[in-house]
Symmetry: C2
Subunit: 310 residues, 2 copies
């Protein structure tokens, strides 16, 4: 999802780091539907030794490493999570180490690197104690990114994305799915289940803002970053109740009435281990700008992704 | 050094976790001089795939994973550091994952997981931003230890040891060598160079206390640990000037007069990135007890390791 949106943004921008974009390789385990003149689809599995090295001729100026298996899958299939999220990242980083050049590498990490209990808000210098294998693998990727950058193997920036909402598409089985579902389904005129209390607080960014962050991370000046290359991204911290109030303001009470409370203790327990609110001084100081409000996050969804059924 | 001292301590104790010790396998890339009736020397390289699995029949009740290449070597030889410190640890942890049983695993990490700038003191929940490849590899080992423990693959405890002093033996090329050298050499009647200012503050544990920590980590109750399995160990935080004053109290002014100030800006710069003082609430609460004073640290050296030249 982010890969396609990033590709479209880069095609719109036409330039990055002061250089016109005359080639993009879209690397994935499946063919990309977005291939175009400057934009080549490359099918490759980065968790296969040797696969990454083949992609570095010529060396790109910027590499966006968004690949990974998601939290639920990394938890259900430990070997696959380690292979894709850890080994895939290390194989890419090692291929860069052994090649000429020091491209900017933007690595999308996640707030899953944090685990409860938390202070409120969570400061930039809070330790990483992930409570999932996905978060652990992202933490290890961050550690390599910082060390490989320090050693001059490449010029890395890791950004910990908050939960992306409103996520377009169909409902999925992720425990976090309801954060988008309670907005997306009612906007489509469909009932949505709310498995947690309205008091649950969480931190959000729209897909558009997540792409802003990724592009800004590519543009950032290395000197300004210093040795600490992994940054927690700002988010809009709201309770589920506040999300629903925003839905009412943007789409009316009819939408809100489609939300059905159906508490699920299993989901509630998972969500209780997640971070709620961050004090992201460093990222704000470096020019990463969050959405203004959850109302705006809903409007971004309506502008960018909402396709009314006819 | 710690491996041999730990072996002797365990032979003296005769039991661990309420069980008598009837077998110890001393695994190293070289033969151990300490082999005895209950104590078998095993030559193996844990960074070789398959080596660890062979060591787990029968499954030990406790595994001490102290192996690693040191900071200077991991910095000079990146591949070797990654192979031994990261892959060796992962191969051991994966062998445990795939075997029956959930032994206690004690992993010696290091305060090298921390990197400047620091608050003073450094709290238990301060983030890890290593400034060496060694510290990065230890951080990644900690991350795996916590996740493999969470998943029930084994029952791990990681302990971040402060600088060990007074380290016995000959001077070495480590940037931290002078912390021991300014004490050990004068006690032997030999001049010692002091490459940094007397105001430099650092955190120390005697080898005897480091062994106390490792044994205590083996004994700790899993419930008391919770999900956060990596602990910063307490140390005696003193300036180099205070170390030298302690030397004067324990060994007299003649010893102090053997210290020659010879500032080395390269060493001073490295040391400036190291942590100075920790507030180790968690470890203290779990019963890890530091040396009383730097005077005591010198006395431990005289008791345990000092061999006067005749």
């Amino acid at each position: 999802m982010l890969g396609q949106k990033l590709t479209r943004r880069l095609l719109d921008l036409g330039s990055l780091r002061g250089l016109s974009i005359d080639r993009m390789d879209l690397v994935d385990v499946v063919d990309s539907p977005l291939a175009a003149s400057t934009c080549r689809s490359v099918v490759a599995d980065l968790s296969e030794p040797g696969a990454a090295a083949d992609l570095l001729h010529p060396m790109p100026d910027v590499i966006f490493h968004l690949a990974g298996v998601v939290s639920g899958e990394a938890e259900a299939n430990f070997d696959k999570g380690m292979a894709v999220n850890l080994d895939g990242t290390r194989l890419l980083f090692d291929a860069l180490r052994l090649a000429e050049g020091t491209p900017r590498v933007v690595f999308t990490s996640s707030i899953a690197v944090f685990g409860a209990p938390f202070p409120d808000p969570i400061p930039d210098d809070f330790h990483l104690t992930p409570l999932t294998s996905y978060g652990t693998q992202k933490m290890m990727g961050e550690a390599m990114l910082a060390d490989y950058t320090r050693r001059g193997f490449f010029d890395g920036v890791g950004i910990r994305l908050p939960t992306i909402s409103v996520r377009p598409g169909l409902p999925n089985a992720a425990a976090s799915g309801f954060f988008s579902g309670v907005i997306r389904e009612p906007l489509a005129g469909v009932q949505a289940s709310l498995p947690v209390s309205r008091n649950v607080r969480h931190s959000h960014a729209s897909p558009r803002t997540a792409i802003d962050y990724i592009v800004h991370a590519a543009e950032l000046d290395s000197e300004a970053l210093g040795a600490r290359r992994n940054l927690t991204m700002p988010g809009v911290s709201v309770t589920v109740g506040e999300q629903i109030e925003a839905l009412g303001r943007v789409a009316g009470q009819d939408a809100v009435d489609l939300i059905v409370e159906a508490e699920d203790p299993a989901v509630a327990e998972i969500v209780a281990g997640w971070p709620q609110r961050f004090d992201t001084q460093r990222a704000l100081g470096l020019g990463f700008t969050p959405d203004h409000s959850y109302d705006d996050i809903i409007r971004v969804y309506l502008d960018d992704d909402f396709a009314p059924s006819t």
